[in-house]
Symmetry: C2
Subunit: 383 residues, 2 copies
């Protein structure tokens, strides 16, 4: 399932040699995100949390390191990570932020700057994000902007963050007027993914993360999609080797897309499959009713239906996607209380809109996409 | 005075073709800052403020543009710039920040984000900084971080900002714990320098800007240094053609240094000549007694004396530098009330310190520098 660029512009599962290997501790996969001087490795494995110290030692870092985490993940894994860092000769401080997206804002960013200054973090000190997307986005933006940039290490602990947020360099905070309005593109030096931590992830969040995994299969990798169709129950039951394989495949696919288009000027938009309507559903339900992955699942099922209606794909493709999403326990229908007018208006405020049109990602078949440029009204006509 | 890299690593005045030309409105110089995909032009001329609209039109920008300015510069030039933008079909909004370094902070940054959101600035909209270093740093950081980056245009109106802050991509805000602790490297799309606005610059600020001009001569360009020795009175009296020539030379020199080392990992440190002690003097006098350029003048005179004491340069070099600084009306002596212990401690908190040593820039002769790694105590021993 290694990503490979086709002449036609799509990415498909290729025959590139796979770097997955078996260690004493289980399977281990290493992906290199190739961005020239800013290239970095992603290590995916089981129990890798105990290697944080040794791995951070491999990237240049002075003795002081700061770990940013949330309340729940901090209680579960904070001490283990700190012990690993101590064991490798670091003098870590842990900064804990209350759980919840509402803390991903400028006020908590300022709090974080104050703690970094107190701890005398400098340009040789690594800032480590231990948590989900909120922690990664906030810590990444702090790392991008403190002293004009300090080394950043991601240790994502949700499936969504592991397959999505840990690759691509998007960092930022929310503003009352919209999500992620303040931010920067900033690459980590290292990403460490321990799939064993997914055992403590709530079932609903695991499913929401699977929505993004399914997305990678739909847009880029038929083999990944088929693997999910065959072995989804094993994934849901936490099969560690299978999780290493799947998370590694997603990271590899996203790394290839990001390499092609680091700052989101064109091709990277393929990753927005399901997100145009998904974002509108999230916004209209005030980010409370659905997890991000759930809204994306609704958006993907809709995007397939739109693609079918516009004769880009056949009914079998739409059905396969809906079936897999439902199997994962994800919603596929737009809630009845969200009217077309409200959805069209929400789509029109998308920050990627140009001249009133959205670059909408359609599918042609599993593993192949195409762009259409549509207004909000044209999109909701397919509801 | 075009900058050219020598094999030995220094930059010297070279024989590269000069792009200076005479327009109807006077001399005009264009420098290209060569940073690959992020390259941008600097136009230096007389009356160029009236060309802002046409020049911004040349870089990709949608109809909405925002001009950030300070109270005084806004009153003097805000309407002229807005008129030029209107004339070229833009719909500009002007955002005014009170004058003074104390407004370069996170609170005013948040104010700026709010105004950009209200004005519906998007990734196609240019953010224009019209002012000195405070405005440029604040607007640049906002441009770097709003929507993860919007196009940024610099229109610097102080001599210091024209020769220094407008090249190099350093943006940021202050924190109570230190200056520029929060920031990013972010390149403008375009820099427009109108030397005619220097007529309204207070004499003391003109002299402070000259300190940085003199610095470029000392570290990189003997011909520039000699030109200043010969024609400083004309500069001080506002000779426009001479100012175009000098400002253009400084921008060209700095552009060459930045091209070699965009994110300040090594060679760019040559620009810190005079700044190690200068920063300490500024900090100990709480940024109130001296303008930045004045503190740098004190720091340069001291660095020459230290270089001479350590047998790197001769007494004649030290004398030439002191004479030129005094001629410009700049201070050259460390104030008697700042003791060596306090200065050594202030130097030790420099954010570029590593292992307790500072990379101190010494001179060998006019146009040639060398680095020494010294502790604060070793430095102040030469007071």
């Amino acid at each position: 399932m290694a990503a490979r660029r086709q002449a036609g512009g799509a990415i498909r599962a290729g025959a590139a040699p796979c770097t997955v290997r078996h260690d004493a501790g289980g399977m281990m996969d290493t992906i290199t995100v190739d961005l020239g001087a800013r290239s970095y490795p992603i290590h995916v494995g089981v129990g890798i949390l105990d290697e944080v110290g040794a791995r951070v030692r491999e990237v240049r870092s002075g003795p002081r390191v700061a770990v940013l985490t949330g309340t729940t993940v901090g209680e579960l894994y904070g001490e283990r990570v700190a012990a690993s860092l101590h064991h490798s000769g670091f003098d870590p401080i842990t900064i804990t932020i209350p759980d919840g997206e509402e803390h991903k804002n400028l006020a908590w960013l300022a709090f974080l700057y104050d703690r970094l200054i107190e701890a005398r973090i400098d340009r040789d000190s690594a800032l480590i994000a231990l948590g989900g997307g909120v922690i990664g986005d906030l810590a990444g933006f702090a790392a991008a902007t403190f002293l004009r940039g300090v080394p950043f290490v991601q240790v994502p602990t949700t499936l969504l963050a592991q397959v999505d947020a840990s690759v691509g360099g998007k960092t930022g905070v929310n503003h009352p007027a919209g999500k992620n309005l303040i931010g920067a593109f900033y690459q980590p030096r290292l990403v460490l993914i321990d799939v064993a931590v997914l055992r403590t992830l709530p079932r609903r969040e695991l499913a929401a993360g699977l929505a993004e995994v399914i997305k990678y299969g739909v847009i880029l990798d038929p083999a990944l999609f088929e693997l999910l169709e065959e072995r989804l129950d094993h994934v849901l039951h936490g099969d560690a080797d299978l999780l290493v394989q799947i998370v590694g495949a997603c990271c590899r696919l996203k790394a290839e897309v990001v390499r092609e288009d680091e700052t989101e000027r064109g091709y990277r938009a393929v990753l927005n499959f399901g997100h145009t309507l998904g974002h509108a559903v999230e916004a209209l339900t005030e980010y409370r009713r659905f997890l991000h992955g759930e809204a994306v699942a609704i958006g993907m099922a809709f995007a397939a239906r739109l693609s079918q209606a516009r004769a880009h794909c056949d009914a079998a493709t739409t059905q396969r996607l809906r079936r897999l999403l439902k199997h994962a326990g994800l919603p596929t229908d737009v809630p009845g209380d969200l009217g077309p007018d409200a959805l069209a208006a929400a789509i029109a405020t998308d920050k990627k809109t140009r001249d009133g049109k959205v670059q909408f990602v359609c599918i042609e078949r599993i593993g192949k996409t195409r762009f259409e440029y549509l207004s909000g009204v044209e999109i909701v006509a397919h509801l």
